[in-house]
């Protein structure tokens, strides 16, 4: 009876607010899911749950603690309940239970909203959903226990929240601490929280629950200490001494934050004075390793300079970050390191490059410059194809269409046509671009994006390409909330249409048709004939349960005859282990097997390398002296049963 009365009272007092919080949460989740939908390939709708857990759920829990506990203590109504014939702990237990029940409802609602916002691609299974719910509940339980404990500390709770925030910030941002190595941070891992499907993180959940239990027990101890007199004292208005303590803690916290920020500052990459070429405007530094390589390096530096200067002028960019190029003479031609943390840093080997290879590397430099210039906005989906296409187009043409070498054009268009021919008829080359990059590799995806920009240049004029670059690649991320809203008010396709004069539908349809026509260009058709008419096949042979094998091979492609493949050409099987979650995967050069390019469904058999439950990325590529970069025939993600 007493418990029922306590529950009834709290429901009457806080029910409306709880419903309000639930509705507000749903609105937030709906907005996040809508945002997620507009950003193709960037997120699963279930990432919204993690987003909620690290953004507004803590605020909801704070509100809950404030209404259920703090208010009761600060207003003294606790004394009224205390005099009623009820055990001293029961009102608190009821409050904790109600809070937990509300958060469980919130978790279920959040997940339900995400399920509604999901698609077949999300592969929602009861087990996975259960795992997500469990993880969400455990995290919420921790939040609620912390807030429950601190809420019993009266005015001191503000200090405690600030200190906790400082500790969390320190753990999350200190370079020396790998927060993802321990619970509860690991439980909220960016990838594992949503994409882990098989392994239930029992240890992390237990640690998190143990932490929650510690806070809960501390809370009850505070409530019981001195028969509640300690909690009562803490609930009284803050004294001057309390304010002084708060001030000292704030100052100490600021100092600590300063130290952390200082520790996080990384020394930028600096070249010395030997074997370094420098150009002041645009600022480029090049380390060429040895005097032996000076001449070739100077030539490459000139080609970078020649590409950067006009692009900066055409896009109206006032300042560009510094470019640092480092020669690595022992590397393969297309083994490139790339970073944009302070300026643009590119390391590679340009000694044996021809003009095509130079254009590849120059495009990387331009890619880095525009990424750094736009503070990471340019490569953000769904604009990434614009960045890749524009930079390759610029590297090939320097902004002047007549400068495009026919052999480069033919090779790039051959790649683009090849990729397009391997896709379904209704595939959207633009919104599906990121998936294409994942499946057919970046060189081919870049060629596809290049073909799109070339199509715009040839049909709408070169000014349309400049306008496209200015609309998507020149402006940094908005520095204010208002700026962000302003950006949001102009959807990507609207900006695209304004820049190019093409609507989305017209562009995707006509570009695909234009690309199909290009397959009949003699230069392209001739190169297409150099690609083996083979389709990749992948299979897992688990007949030997102890040693499952991955079998990859080639089947003849229907409708095409085998053509004149170069005698030195090889077909390559590449593979790499995947973690439990999916994102773009670029398989390395370490694990590969070569064979002649002939139809053989079991050309590559890989056994004893992977066990049950492993996830493996497998790809089949074609390498030939006729093509500068390997052409990926196809790839797949396999799960070993």
């Amino acid at each position: 009876m007493a418990t029922k009365a306590l529950i009834g009272k709290d429901l009457r007092e806080h029910g409306a607010a709880a419903i309000g919080l639930l509705v507000a949460s749903l609105v937030m989740v709906a907005l996040a899911i809508a945002q997620n939908r507009s950003a193709a390939f960037s997120m699963s709708p279930f990432e919204v749950v993690r987003f909620a857990l690290i953004t507004f759920v803590p605020l909801i829990v704070l509100t809950l603690g404030n209404r259920l506990i703090v208010r009761e203590y600060l207003s003294g109504t606790r004394l009224f309940v205390e005099a009623l014939p009820v055990g001293s702990m029961r009102p608190l237990l009821v409050k904790y239970g109600l809070g937990a029940a509300f958060l469980s409802l919130l978790a279920a609602t959040l997940l339900a909203a995400c399920v509604l916002g999901s698609s077949a691609a999300d592969d929602v299974t009861p087990q996975w959903l259960g795992q997500l719910l469990l993880k969400t509940l455990v995290v919420m339980c921790l939040y609620w226990s912390i807030v429950f404990c601190f809420s019993l500390c009266g005015h001191l709770r503000i200090v405690l929240y600030l200190v906790t925030l400082g500790i969390v910030a320190m753990i999350a941002w200190m370079p020396a601490i790998d927060a993802t190595r321990f619970a509860p941070f690991r439980l909220l891992d960016r990838d594992l929280f949503v994409f882990e499907r098989d392994v239930v993180p029992v240890a992390d959940m237990l640690w998190t629950l143990a932490l929650a239990a510690a806070f809960l027990v501390t809370g009850f101890l505070i409530a019981r200490l001195g028969n509640g007199s300690v909690a009562d004292r803490l609930a009284r208005p803050m004294t001057r001494r309390d304010f002084v303590v708060l001030g000292v803690l704030l100052i100490a916290g600021s100092g600590l934050a300063g130290v952390i920020a200082e520790n996080r500052t990384r020394e930028p990459i600096r070249f010395g004075n030997t074997s370094v070429l420098r150009v002041p405007e645009p600022a480029i530094e090049m380390y060429f390793a040895s005097e032996l390589y000076r001449e070739r390096s100077e030539a490459f530096l000139a080609s970078v300079q020649t590409a950067v200067e006009p692009m900066q002028a055409r896009l109206g960019i006032d300042a560009l970050p510094i470019v640092r190029l480092a020669l690595r003479p022992t590397r393969e031609r297309h083994d490139i390191d790339y970073g944009t943390l302070d300026g643009v840093y590119v390391a590679g080997n340009w000694l044996e490059n021809d003009s095509y290879d130079d254009a590849v590397l120059v495009a990387v430099v331009l890619h880095g410059l525009l990424t750094a210039r736009t503070t990471g906005r340019a490569p953000f989906e769904p604009h990434h194809w614009v960045l890749d296409g524009f930079t390759r187009w610029w590297a090939e043409t320097l902004g002047e269409p007549q400068a495009l070498q026919t052999s480069h054009r033919d090779e790039l268009l051959t790649r683009a046509v090849f990729v397009a021919s391997r896709l379904d008829d209704d595939a959207d080359l633009v919104t599906g671009w990121q998936g294409i990059a994942d499946n057919f590799g970046y060189p081919s995806a870049e060629a596809l994006a290049f073909s799109a920009v070339l199509y715009i240049a040839e049909t709408q004029g070169v000014e349309a390409v400049y306008d496209l670059g200015r609309a998507f690649l020149a402006e940094p991320v908005a520095a204010s909330v208002l700026g962000s809203f302003s950006d949001r008010s102009r959807p990507a396709w609207q900006r695209f249409t304004t820049a190019t004069g093409l609507t989305r539908d017209d562009f995707t349809r006509d570009w695909a048709a234009w690309l199909a026509q290009r397959s009949r260009d003699p230069g392209v058709a001739g190169r297409l004939a150099l690609i083996p008419a083979l389709d990749p096949v992948f299979e897992v042979d688990s007949s030997d349960a102890a040693q499952p094998a991955i079998v990859a091979g080639y089947t003849p492609r229907r409708g095409r005859v085998v053509s004149e493949v170069h005698e030195e050409a090889v077909c390559v099987f590449r593979y790499g282990s995947l973690s439990a979650f999916d994102y773009e995967y670029e398989v390395g050069d370490e694990d590969k097997r070569e064979t002649r390019c002939v139809a053989d469904e079991a050309a590559h058999v890989l056994s004893g390398r992977h066990g049950s439950g492993d996830r493996v990325y497998v790809a089949l590529e074609f390498e030939s002296p006729d093509f500068h970069q390997a052409l990926r025939l196809g790839s797949q993600r396999l799960v070993i049963p």
Partner: protein, 312 residues
């Protein structure tokens, strides 16, 4: 007669501060018991111990013959309690309050609650946040009585009330306790409140009862004398008899007169006249002063009494 409340050498300390220092008293069934003491004398702590909210550090405490332990809610169910300050939920109306409180008391009498509310003039649907202090106290009294308590505990319920509201409230207490015959434990520091309703009283000071019994003997056993300063012969009074049979509660100079208040410790049957008979050598200037209950109370717990107690 059975005892409803029994304190036997109850001790309660907060750190080094002894709030109850061997408090002993007993309340009999059906009586209205006045629990008098200054602010900070330990009255509220004694009530918290009595209710089982705060545990005692020593001694024994029984209510309805049952030993009180912290968290023993069976005792609390039989007690109607009116606190010094009413910390009720401001968003509740009396109706909502009844809905909440009835869950805690199996003996809750809804019809009595309605009747009391009506009699006390309390609007049923108005938010408690808009109630005056007097209205809240009446509501608390109605709530306590609607539980059909066997013991009514009032912890300075009139604190902060204006004289009119206070008088009205006391009339209600008097009327209801007489009507119901419920045992009442009335804590206050205002002696006139007790004078009107209490059958017996205890005066608590420094955490212990310095007097327990009926009111009339207390007044009878406390005598006051005064003399103009120019007529006083130092050392002539109270004299050997008084030193043996009386405790000097107050010996002070006020308004040019030396005043003495004395408590007859060992001769409870002595009357003022008899006392005078034992002072044959009184100088002619000494005159007897009549004392109100408040004078007696102040003399018993005032600073002079404490000084005297410390000296003794």
């Amino acid at each position: 007669m059975s005892h409803v409340i029994e304190f036997a050498q109850v001790v309660k300390r907060f750190g080094r501060l002894s709030v109850l220092d061997g408090l002993s008293l007993s309340v009999q069934a059906g009586e209205v018991y006045g629990f008098l003491g200054r602010n900070g004398a330990g009255k509220s702590t004694a009530i918290r111990v009595l209710m089982g909210i705060t545990p005692a550090d020593g001694g024994e405490m029984r209510v309805f013959g049952e030993r009180v332990t912290p968290g023993a809610i069976s005792v609390r169910r039989r007690i109607g309690y009116v606190a010094q300050e009413q910390h009720m939920y401001p968003w509740m109306s009396p109706r909502a309050l009844s809905r909440f409180v009835r869950g805690f008391y199996p003996t809750w009498d809804e019809s009595r609650w309605r009747e009391l509310n009506e009699r006390f003039g309390l609007p049923e649907k108005q938010r408690l946040g808009t109630f005056s202090g007097g209205m809240k106290a009446k509501l608390a009294l109605a709530m306590a009585l609607a539980t059909r308590p066997e013991l009514l505990v009032l912890d300075e319920p009139t604190a902060g009330m204006d004289p009119v509201a206070r008088r009205e409230f006391l009339d209600l207490v008097r009327g209801e306790t007489e009507r119901e015959g419920v045992t009442t434990f009335f804590s206050t520091h205002l002696i006139d409140e007790i004078e009107a309703v209490a059958d017996r009283i205890a005066i608590v000071e420094g955490g212990r009862a310095i007097y327990e019994g009926a009111l009339a003997p207390l007044v009878a056993r406390t005598v006051g004398y005064s003399i103009a300063m120019q007529d006083d012969v130092p050392g002539s009074f109270p004299g050997p008899f008084a030193a043996e049979n009386m405790r000097v509660l107050e010996d002070a100079v006020r308004g040019g007169r030396r005043r003495l208040v004395m408590f007859l410790d060992s001769a409870p049957s002595l009357q003022h006249s008899a006392a005078s008979a034992h002072f044959p050598h009184l100088n002619p200037g000494w005159s007897h002063e009549s004392l109100s209950l408040e004078d007696v109370f102040v003399a018993l717990v005032g600073p002079h009494a404490r000084t005297a107690a410390t000296a003794s």
